[in-house]
Symmetry: C2
Amino acid sequence: MAELPLPELDPLSDRAVFRQIADHVREAIERGALHEGDKIPSEAQLMQHYGVARMTIRNALQVLQSEGLTVAEHGRGVFVRSRPPVRRLASDRFARRHRERGKAAFIVETEEAGGKPSVDSIKVSEAAAPSDVAERLELAGGEHVIVRSRRYLINGQPVETAVSYLPSSIAQGTQIEQPDSGPGGIYARLEELGFRLDRFVEEIRSRMPFREEVRALKLAPGVPVFHLIRTAYAADGRPVEVCDTVMSSDAYVLSYELPAR
Amino acid sequence: MAELPLPELDPLSDRAVFRQIADHVREAIERGALHEGDKIPSEAQLMQHYGVARMTIRNALQVLQSEGLTVAEHGRGVFVRSRPPVRRLASDRFARRHRERGKAAFIVETEEAGGKPSVDSIKVSEAAAPSDVAERLELAGGEHVIVRSRRYLINGQPVETAVSYLPSSIAQGTQIEQPDSGPGGIYARLEELGFRLDRFVEEIRSRMPFREEVRALKLAPGVPVFHLIRTAYAADGRPVEVCDTVMSSDAYVLSYELPAR
DNA sequence: AAGTGGTCTAGACCACTCT
DNA sequence: GAGTGGTCTAGACCACTTT
């Protein structure tokens, strides 16, 4: 406490006490008096400094946590949140020239950035298509899809989950049904099967994660996710794959190039 | 309460009571027993149903609120959050053919979607460029920029704030410095000035909003924002504008087309 | 006036981390 | 064992909305 000078409460203010306290700590972080990873004063210290009940302090800390500014560690303290290195996704990441190098985009990019990529939880199955997927794939009534799900990690830290859907009529009996989809990944296999890829459409949403997503991506409280749905189209205009991915917004900056045309 | 059957607590579970309660309500929402805008049982009703203290109920409700599933209205109750109509941004939205129609992209698209677009808080000034803007605009040491900020609304509901930065050497003394930038907006003016636009690069981040952003966009608790930074490049490769926008993630789905090349 | 959520107090016991 | 955050109780008073 001695090290971090915090203002006193303003008894005349209309602003709730717990909000004033949250403001003080937030400002300390924003002006750089507290850095990433620094411990903020304990609940007991803050109670003493402000002369308020514990619940009032916890309310204030809760505000900061839901803003993604701090993380509490049970038994250790509350710390200013530090952000992982960010992965930038460029809009040419699915260009054929990359695919032809025989490695999946994720592996190449992560290694180039000096990280250790890995993929786990690979599962493949066949099932009825969820309705939004069926619509995007323009499936005739009830056609099944091959479902490939997996999780991507950088330096052991999960950053993204992905689920691909391909029409059974295309993928059944091919290497796409194997856990290891081979050099260049699904898109390379599709081209070998004669589906020359023409373009991708990505739809991006941002929202708070569901419970399972918090677990799968080890998300800190207050971190939203990108929800990205990519549809791959073959040269004849036929949609051949839908990939549904959820990414920690902490770990990604998406980048797209638009022609002015 | 009578209308909404909620399970009992599992006294053997390791899961905290307030989390179990949050789970019950969340599941009711997810399975459709509660719809958008429905009122969930009051704190008093939940206390009675579960036989726990008020703080425990409030803790549970707080979880749902920070997940963006519910909104509390003082004196009325807690409601299942309803989402505003979504605006889809397609990657051709800055195509020249749209610009030539003489209206800004935002106005045209919103009207086509049956909404009433408006723009307010328009401010124009000249200032030193923030360092990230200076970098993107490749400004020589200390060159100033014209700063245009404004807020976009649909049916009176704010959905986006935007700040554009243009090198003073380009924009000074032009209509770009006027509050009304004229038909077709800034991009039309730039082309008249001889800067034929070639391409745009958009960088997208997602994060929880800052306090001022919550105010400016009237964001519900638990709603993240898109932070989008667009750089416009002229045909000679020179960056001529940077636009920094913050969008309610509730109100937008971004869509981009990528060539497989 | 009755019902709702918003804020706050003053305790209690527990689980985890560090030394 | 001391210090930390996690959970929970049982009250209180207030501000806002509805009837």
